[in-house]
């Protein structure tokens, strides 16, 4: 029997979700073809804001990877646009001259961003914010240019503006109205929002109408209706979206603002459906995924001839995805004569709440500064609850656990994906789920905007009761597995796994050979657990650690020899100078870590250069001890109370080469003036009268963090003992690539203090780190001594061809 042919136009969030709903009902019934104009698999458009803000990467926002299409026998034509629908002959025609017949057609073409048609709108440097391409354009522009303007102070515009700030640009937001997000917020909340964003560094031009984009080929400025002009290198138009209906209109399908559909998402043409942002249902066009997913569900049931109530419209809630700002809005927000409100305004703390009541029923709400009541309000407003229920509920435990306990099974937890409390509880019980990630994998809850993650966690805790373990609520280590770091490490220990390949096989990795995230991580964990037995896998090391030099953008390397404690000698400096001459090193530079870097060395020259230097590797490339910076200290400084150089050199000599989850930096200053910057190191030591203070968890990098005072000790011996214990505990407990600054915050300083307070524990940790240190080898020397490694890794095969 031939299968029913379904064709989907639009490989986006609503369309593909509808297909998932169809497959859920009957995975075998249809032959499915999908056309998508964008050259990507279905990805999470919502997360583009987070990509732009630097919180995630494009690689991580795919929702359905290519395997998913293959596994479900879906014919996908990506990068291909449908140009015409021939409803009479039931076929679609594409820009690649392909013609595909359908029995049922689904149009899910989404929206097109509205580009204000002012003179100059086509200039280079003007972009919308809708897809991956736009996102990349903004990121690339930020590398060369400084000034950005965002037209539109709504959700999308503000999220774009925050992203551009994070990319290092100066940002002006231009808004037509005098209140930001005026469709979702009232004046009070809008003004509070503006103040907060100004604090974050955004500038606002309110009540401004854009009249012209200025510049030659590229945008150079904007002129407004009132004659004022500003300079800018980038214009992001976030002035709204329009349903993408042109294809439908040209093909004779009834269109108003969007493609007109009934409660089953049927258009006026038989067997042609429309779903998502392109559709207009009961005079409403939606622009958020939650209602679109509900539409998809109703449509799928109808296509599969299942009895269903159909789609009846949705109440919308919005949240702004800008870190540090909590705003929430749902339902009606404008006060009228016949409405009443409950209001709370705390100017001091910056908290505002307004609940709108119509005929004694909950009708809408705006929250600013504290959105913890958001889910509760959404629930009550959705079911048009009596205001008494809200006031009563306010007294009950305000905690998340109290909230999930009080919810009905049918109430939604994840609005985006339409997952109810009952669905989640059922999945947790039936499939023995124990982590938020597992719940996400099984039910899709929290898979889209992620806003409901805390609720899912509360519900998990509530359902599991005492067996809930908060400490395991972590992410999978990479896309090849659903297992978390702790689960993997435990399995390695328990099952005695000894190779990366074995770990991947035994623990059911979904890819052959892992990926660039999990392979180095597994290699680290295996080595950490069995330092003596495990043979390090070169092929699982990132290039820098495999080659023992930092790779440069042109494929050359840099060479940084050890200079213990930043102390050197005329002899060493002479050697470095001679080597630099001999190998014609293009750049010699003093590093931020108190030593010398030789840049631009050819791969083939590395072993020879190391041999001539005859100095140990400084590991400027490694997940290991980098430098121990020191100040000059008591030997010369008039304030010095301690021998900082001596101690620093001793620390560096003892702990060099030890593998750590991320790089590990130390410093020793001989007095609290802290000239060696001990306060921003993974472990910093500061000399005080009669002893040393130890600071941990500092970071001078991307997220600056001052180190916390860990303890005060009297002798050098005690310093060494504490460092050994702290480092080994970090080695054993942290997630690969987790710097101490992040680890200390995650597990808590007090917890680490508690563990290391016990002398027996410290001794055991020191014994284990000593064991691991005992098998480390000087890597440059190893390469010099091994002809095989030199040949395999450092030589280029030169082959002559006749042409």
């Amino acid at each position: 029997m031939t299968k029913e042919k379904i064709v989907l136009i639009g490989n986006g969030m609503a369309g593909v979700r509808s297909i998932e709903e169809l497959l859920k009902i009957d995975s075998d019934r249809f032959h499915i073809t999908i056309f998508g104009e964008e050259p990507y698999p279905n990805y999470n458009r919502i997360q583009l804001s987070k990509v732009l803000q630097g919180d995630t990467e494009i690689a991580d926002i795919t929702l359905n990877d290519w395997n998913w299409y293959a596994k479900n026998n879906i014919q996908i034509y990506s990068g291909e646009k449908v140009m015409q629908i021939d409803a009479e002959n039931k076929a679609v025609h594409t820009d690649k001259k392909r013609v595909v017949a359908y029995d049922k057609l689904i149009i899910a073409t989404g929206s097109v961003p509205f580009i204000i048609p002012v003179p100059g709108h086509e200039k280079e440097g003007v972009t919308a914010f809708r897809d991956i391409k736009d996102c990349e354009k903004m990121i690339n522009t930020s590398k060369e240019y400084k000034k950005a303007s965002v037209i539109g102070g709504g959700l999308l515009g503000l999220e774009a503006a925050r992203g551009l700030l994070n990319l290092g640009m100066d940002v002006n937001v231009i808004h037509l109205a005098d209140v930001l997000m005026e469709r979702q917020l009232d004046e009070t909340a809008g003004k509070m929002l503006q103040k907060e964003l100004e604090k974050q560094g955004m500038s606002f031009l309110m009540n401004k109408q854009t009249a012209e984009i200025l510049g030659e080929d590229r945008v150079e400025g904007i002129r407004f209706g009132d004659g004022e002009q500003i300079e800018t290198d980038l214009v992001v138009m976030a002035a709204g979206i329009r349903p993408n209906t042109s294809l439908a209109k040209e093909s004779g399908i009834a269109v108003n603002r969007g493609i007109l559909v009934n409660d089953y998402m049927e258009t006026n043409i038989p067997d042609v459906y429309a779903v998502g942002e392109c559709a207009e249902h009961r005079e409403v066009v939606y622009g958020l995924v939650a209602p679109l997913y509900e539409q998809g569900k109703a449509m799928a049931a109808h296509i599969c001839d299942e009895p269903a109530a159909g789609y009846e419209g949705s109440v919308l809630s919005t949240q702004l995805k800008v870190s540090g700002v909590d705003v929430f809005s749902v339902g009606e927000i404008v006060e009228e004569e016949e409405t009443k409100t409950i209001k709370m305004f705390d100017d001091w703390k910056g908290v505002y709440k307004k609940v709108l009541i119509r005929d004694g029923k909950m009708a809408g709400a705006v929250l600013f500064g504290d959105t913890s009541e958001g889910n509760k309000l959404l629930r009550l407003i959705n079911k048009k609850a009596d205001v008494e229920e809200y006031i009563g509920a306010a007294e009950e435990a305000a905690s998340g656990a109290g909230l999930v306990a009080s919810m009905d099974d049918s109430e939604l937890i994840c609005g985006c994906n339409g997952v109810s409390k009952g669905d989640i509880v059922c999945a947790i019980k039936e499939k023995d789920l124990t982590t938020v990630d597992e719940v996400k994998g099984c039910t899709s809850a929290s898979r889209s905007c992620g806003g409901c993650k805390p609720l899912v966690a509360d519900l998990l805790a509530h359902t599991l009761g005492d067996s809930f373990d908060a400490s395991i609520q972590k992410e999978a280590i990479c896309g090849c597995t659903t297992l978390s770091r702790d689960e993997v490490v435990e399995a390695i220990r328990e099952k005695g796994l000894s190779h990366t390949r074995e770990v991947m096989n035994v623990l059911g990795w979904s890819t052959e050979g892992g990926c660039s995230k999990c392979r180095p991580a597994l290699n680290y964990y295996l080595g950490m657990i069995k330092p003596k037995e495990y043979e390090d896998e070169k092929e699982s090391r990132f290039v820098n650690e495999r080659m023992h030099g930092n790779i440069q953008k042109d494929g050359t390397y840099s060479v940084v020899p050890r200079m213990y404690g930043g102390v050197t000698s005329a002899e060493d400096l002479r050697k470095i100078a001679d080597v630099a001459d001999k190998y014609k090193v293009p750049l010699i530079k003093v590093t931020g870590g108190q030593r010398i870097d030789l840049f631009g060395v050819k791969k083939e020259d590395l072993p020879g250069m190391w041999a001539d230097l005859d100095m140990p590797s400084g590991y400027a490339y490694g997940k290991t001890l980098r430098t121990v910076k020191t100040c000059v200290g008591e030997s010369f400084c008039r304030f010095g109370t301690q021998d900082s150089m001596g101690l620093g050199v001793r620390m560096e000599k003892k702990f060099e080469r030890i593998g750590t989850p991320h790089k590990f930096k130390m410093a020793v200053s001989a007095c609290p003036r802290n000239c060696a910057e001990s306060g921003i190191k993974d472990l910093g030591v500061v000399g005080v009268d009669g002893g040393w203070e130890l600071y941990v968890g500092g970071n001078g990098g991307t997220h600056l963090r001052a180190a916390d005072l860990f303890c005060k000790v009297k002798t050098d011996e005690e310093v060494m003992e504490m460092i050994g214990a702290f480092m080994q505990y970090y080695r054993e407990d942290a997630v690969y690539l987790e710097r101490t600054s992040v680890w200390v915050e995650r597990v808590g300083l007090d917890h680490i203090k508690e563990v290391l307070a016990d002398k027996a524990t410290r001794d055991a940790l020191n014994a284990r780190i000593d064991e691991a240190l005992s098998v480390t080898k000087e890597p440059w020397k190893e390469v010099i001594d091994s002809e095989k490694t030199r040949k395999e890794l450092y030589e280029t095969e030169l082959v002559s061809a006749t042409k």
Binding site: K538, D554, G555, L793, A801
Partner: protein, 105 residues
Amino acid sequence: MEKVMEKVRIASIQDLPEKMGKTVRVGELELAVFKLGNGKVTAIENRCPHKGGVLAEGIVSGEHVFCPMHDWKICTTDGQVQAPDVGCVSTYKAVVENDDVFLLI
């Protein structure tokens, strides 16, 4: 126009490191040659389509290599960059005869 292929020997199979790349220069061309986990040998141009990263130094997984510069994932058999990134690199045919590895250029 018919292209004439030349067969050149690049190394013996034992000299290629397992599950890692090797830089090979043939005249003007610079290639990355991989001996994969399954023993198969593949060859692609040694320049990432993104920003020219040297692919021979990437982490090899199955038939794919991850560029060491910004982690693009590239198939070493058909040269295709994997989603969500796009692009491709030229591929070259490698054959193993007895102990010798040859490239068809």
